[in-house]
């Protein structure tokens, strides 16, 4: 088990008052709350801060934590002998235990020992996790497995994190940020309290070709100068396979060509559109003949793409 110095996490001394602990928590919670912070690491930091506060604000958990002595943060350690008696006579294996889970179990065991609040039903904690969803899965619907680490007690009452895998049906038309609730698949309840729920947030993944804007998809479509100038029929990838698209004569760069109904579906099955944005590309190295033809065009064409207003001196 890894030691975490909760006083260090909140930046308070070990003899800090409850008021100081609360103040420090509030300040850090505002800084790292995942709903307000832009820090990519905010969720992990907030969890750490919340875990430290949950331990230090509870006198029983704080006393149990203080009882562990001081260790450098991240150091592997084994709890003192009196802790182990709470779970089983003799020595228990603490190598795969989370400190916060153990403190919670220890404090609960102490309360039960004193028969205080032991009959109060406590609902289990809700868990929240995210699930990456590809555009292909959102387009066609899919089944995917989600593995999370769940808190369980072994026969000695020792809390452990064990992996659990749930099969999830991703419906056609799922949108970014949409949530799925798995009732009673969160943390266990105590004294008759119901287990918490598991919430899964769908996270649409960036696609190498398509960009999603609600139900519409956008794709950059490179065209040769002569395809753009003369018009052509080209193949365009869509989530449903390749389709032919007619490029009108005189297509300029940036023009959006719409492929109706080739975007993402919504929950009712109605599809958005796919927009191909024309992008004029040229060969990076010209063959002798290509050079000759371009030179001939340059000499003969009267086209001037730059029509800036006359510069004033």
């Amino acid at each position: 088990m890894k030691y975490i110095d909760y006083y260090d996490v909140l930046g308070v001394p070990r003899d800090a008052s409850q008021e100081d602990i609360k103040k420090a928590y509030r300040k850090l919670a505002h800084q790292y709350h995942p709903d307000v912070s832009k820090d990519p690491d905010a969720e992990r930091k907030f969890k750490e801060v919340a875990e430290a506060y949950a331990t230090l604000k509870d006198p029983e958990k704080r006393a149990a934590f203080d009882n562990l002595g001081r260790h450098p943060s991240g150091e592997e350690f084994v709890p003192p002998h009196q802790w182990q008696q709470h779970f089983q006579e003799g020595s228990a294996d603490f190598s795969d235990v989370d400190l916060a889970d153990l403190l919670a179990a220890f404090a609960a065991a102490q309360r039960a020992d004193r028969q205080e609040r032991s009959r109060m039903a406590v609902n289990g904690q809700d868990f929240e996790t995210s699930m990456p969803v590809t555009l292909e899965q959102a387009y066609s619907g899919a089944e995917a497995d989600l593995t999370i680490s769940v808190l369980e007690e072994d026969e000695r009452g020792m809390p452990r994190r064990v992996p659990k895998t749930y099969r999830i049906r991703i419906p056609k038309g799922v949108s970014d940020g949409q949530r799925l609730r798995l009732p009673q698949k969160g943390g266990p309840g105590f004294n008759g309290g119901r287990p918490g729920d598991l919430y899964v947030r769908m996270q649409l993944q960036p696609h190498p070709i398509f960009r999603a804007s609600n139900r519409d998809l956008y794709i950059d479509l490179p065209l040769a100068p002569w395809e753009a100038a003369l018009g052509a029929t080209v193949e365009v990838p869509t989530l449903g396979g390749l389709v032919e698209l007619r490029i009108p004569e005189g297509t300029v760069a940036g023009r959006k060509l719409r492929l109706s109904g080739r975007g993402l579906p919504d929950a009712s099955g109605k599809h958005g559109d796919l927009y191909a944005i024309a992008k004029i590309d040229i060969p990076s190295k010209l063959s002798a003949r290509e050079r000759e033809l371009f030179q001939q065009l340059a000499a003969e064409s009267r086209f001037n793409p730059r029509s800036f207003p006359e510069a004033r001196s």
């Binding site: 509030r26 919670a29 505002h30 709350h33 709903d35 307000v36 919340a50 809700d126 497995d145 593995t147 992996p163 659990k164 895998t165 749930y166 099969r167 999830i168 049906r169 419906p171 949409q178 949530r179 799925l180 609730r181 798995l182 009732p183 698949k185 729920d197 919430y199 960009r211 999603a212 804007s213 609600n214 519409d216 956008y218 950059d220 760069a253 940036g254 929950a267 927009y275 944005i277 992008k279």
Partner: protein, 105 residues
Amino acid sequence: MTTTITESVWLNTSDICSFDHVIEVSGLSADELHELIDMGIIQPSSSKANALFFRMECIVIARKARQLRDDFELDTRGLALALSLLRKMDELESEIAQLRARLMR
């Protein structure tokens, strides 16, 4: 490792739930939910014989309200302000993402 197939509920706009269900699942009190409805933060989809019904997706806002209440010890007025600012932020972020998708790379 075994894979479990379990009951699951999509928090979407098409399915409906009751007032009591929102309370049970979110952890808000009935008074808090009533106040958030009065302040327009959570909107019922319909009411029948004095019973309020909600779109399933409103559970996401109700849970966020409960989390903010617990994490920052906010009252319902503070919650309403925080939730409207967060909603505004979500709308702007989604608008930026949509505009970015339309730009040629």
